[in-house]
Amino acid sequence: MSKLTLTQAINAGLRRALEDDPKVLLLGEDIGTLGGVFRVTDGLMKDFGSHRVIDTPLAESGIIGTAVGLAYRGFRPVCEIQFDGFIYPGFDQIVSQVAKMHVRTQGKVRMPLTIRVPFGGGIGSPEHHSESPEAYFIHTSGLRVVSPSNPQDAYTMLRQAIACDDPVLYFEPKRRYHAKGDVDLDADLAAAPALDSARVAAAGADVTLVAYGAMLKTALDAASAAAAEGTSIDVIDLRSLSPIDYGPLMESVRRTGRLVIAHEASQTLGLGAEIAATITERCFNYLEAAPVRVTGFDVPYPPSKLEKHHLPDLDRILDGVDRALGRPNSQTGMED
């Protein structure tokens, strides 16, 4: 067991994938000599060579599009998009090519790409560096979308994503990059929880709280604070955003009867909407209250001095928990 930061865990996962499979290649901007702007790929070009850890021209469509060609040739490319807000120039290649190639070719051509995307805010960056674009990709069939919340999951899920024969968008919780945790580098992948599985992060009985990525830490903090006040929250780490593993969610909601979903991304048609709708459809008779969303607002990501108002924090999550429990809250008296 090693104590690693989340970036070190991803680095270890990339290293292991490069060692295990000669078809694995890394493509991205500044990932080689520099080791990535977050140093996630630090040392990999030196150890594996510039033919496997490839600094690319500054063109996201080019990165994804050439990775499609490399996958056609049998390679297993791992692309880095430097920041969440830079993925849009590559959007067409992801949505029209990566996601559809396998179905288009009736299963003949596989696209085992992993697209790594540091995402989310809270790091005081300028515009385009703090976004949560996951819903665009969750909405796109043919893609898998995952987001780890801790170093062990970051390591294991990355290795699973690279080994997966489907394309995987791997959203890295960048404000948790320096969080440390125990990582078992030699854990058997086959024995690890499946890539598309959710996980109960903290057991509780009164309310189900769903989060993923960096928001998981905030959710756990909220659960601790609530516990001190006598409210027991079941926290679910979603891990896989597409497909969503509804099993643990439904099991939890059937016990608690109350559901809160928290994410940084904007509210309208975000993941919270999908989960609320599905749980309402499938667990209607168990619900004691309407599902509650605690999310970023439907605004472009604000300047960093204002981001604390946009990002759901512990108090906003607890306000949502109060709504789910029918206690006085910020929306009391304005239910319509």
Binding site: Y72, T105, V109, S141, G142
Partner: protein
């Protein structure tokens, strides 16, 4: 490795390479002659046969669309030399990334006609297995495939292969960012890729002058990619130009760009009406540069194509057309549940749940008078019943 950053040709005055003139005369070309020194009259006759068959396929497919058997068809009329000359210049291991219009290329590579027709009939999004004939599936997003060709070529280099990748594109595609990014990547990594651009003068209704202020081949040198402009209605010159580019790529010379100057004699697709945006004068002008007619003259002058030989080739093309028609109209409608197939390689629980629900829904119609909708007494249920048979 040769230096690709040679002195670029002035983009405003590209020289168009040609080996067979519009009136069927074989002319010399300093650059291209050596690449077709081995092409004898029999080979020329083979190229003629290919072009006649490709044109016959085009005529038949257009008719099938008009008869309601195809949903859509993108005609190749006028571009036979560009398609046949380019594909016949390649080795079997070379990998082709076509657009939706390269159905003549796919045919020459061995795609079965039913596989070509399935796409345009609406049965499937692709027909052939790309790895069986080394041709990727038709690409509809303009220019996207040039990045795939470049990435594939990067992979060829990594694998130490001498093969090349070729990305087909049209004049309209040269305005797409993906094409420019392709050239940047190809030049930076010296990828063994050929950008084969058929300038057919029209991107649906937009003339090539709207896409570029200079000849299309004039752009590539700015990326450090050698380019040449070739008469795209001259099958021998196209063959030579692609061999030139392939030889460069195989010897470590990196990417090349070819502008094959041709003309789309038909509509963009069968849904298009070109009379709304271009006149007959232009059509007559290009009709006089027909790729098949000029090779006919050359072959006749060499005694290779008497009336009997031409009749035999025409009969062969008719047989191809008959097979195309038969294989098209006998394609079975796809099964409803196949819409869920191959979306993912591994199981996807959410999609599986949707599939299971739809399967149960359809099963409700399995016998008359039962299942959802049966109580309506409407023809709707009957229609659904029929659609599942």
């Amino acid at each position: 490795m040769s230096d690709p950053r040679q002195e670029p040709e002035d983009p405003r005055s590209m020289h168009m390479h040609q080996l067979i003139t519009a009136d069927g005369q074989r002319v010399q070309d300093e650059l291209l002659d050596e690449f077709v020194a081995d092409v004898d009259d029999e080979t020329l006759l083979g190229l003629f046969r290919d072009m006649v068959e490709v044109r016959r396929i085009d005529v038949e497919a257009t008719a099938l669309q008009r008869q309601g058997q195809l949903a859509l068809w993108p005609p190749m009329l006028g571009q036979e030399a560009s398609q046949v000359g380019s594909v016949r210049a390649l080795e079997p291991d070379d990998f082709i990334f076509p657009t939706y219009r390269e159905n003549g290329v796919a045919y020459c590579r061995g795609a079965h006609l039913s596989e070509v027709m399935g796409v345009w009939r609406g049965n499937s999004n692709t027909g052939w297995d790309p790895y069986e004939i080394n041709v990727a599936t038709p690409q509809i997003i303009i220019g996207a495939q040039t990045l795939h060709a470049t990435g594939y070529a990067m992979g060829l280099s990594l694998d130490g292969k001498e093969s090349v990748a070729i990305g087909y594109l049209g004049d309209g595609a040269t305005s797409q960012g993906d094409v420019h990014e392709s050239m940047v990547f190809a030049a930076s990594f010296q990828a063994p890729v050929i950008f084969f651009c058929q300038n057919n003068h029209w991107a649906i209704s937009e003339p090539v002058g709207l896409q570029s202020a200079v000849p299309l081949a004039g752009r590539a040198p700015g990326y450090g990619i050698p380019s040449l402009q070739v008469d795209g209605n001259d099958v021998l010159a196209v063959l030579a130009a692609v061999r030139w580019a392939a030889a460069r790529a195989r010897s470590g010379g990196g990417p090349s760009f070819i502008e094959a100057v041709t003309y789309r004699m038909g509509a963009h697709t069968t849904a298009d009406d070109p009379t709304r945006y271009r006149g007959v004068t232009e059509l007559e002008e290009w009709g006089a540069k027909d790729p098949i007619a000029r090779l006919r003259v050359l072959l006749q002058s060499r005694g290779m194509l008497d009336v009997g030989a031409e009749a035999e080739i025409a009969a062969g093309a008719d047989a191809v057309a008959a097979e195309l028609r038969q294989s098209c109209i006998s394609l079975p409608d796809p099964e409803p549940m196949t819409i869920f197939d191959n979306v993912y390689v591994d199981r996807h629980a959410v999609l599986e749940r949707q599939r299971d629900h739809y399967e149960r829904y359809l099963a409700g119609f399995s016998s008359a008078g039962q299942g959802p909708g049966a109580g309506n007494g409407s023809t709707d249920a009957g229609t659904r019943e029929g659609s599942r048979s």
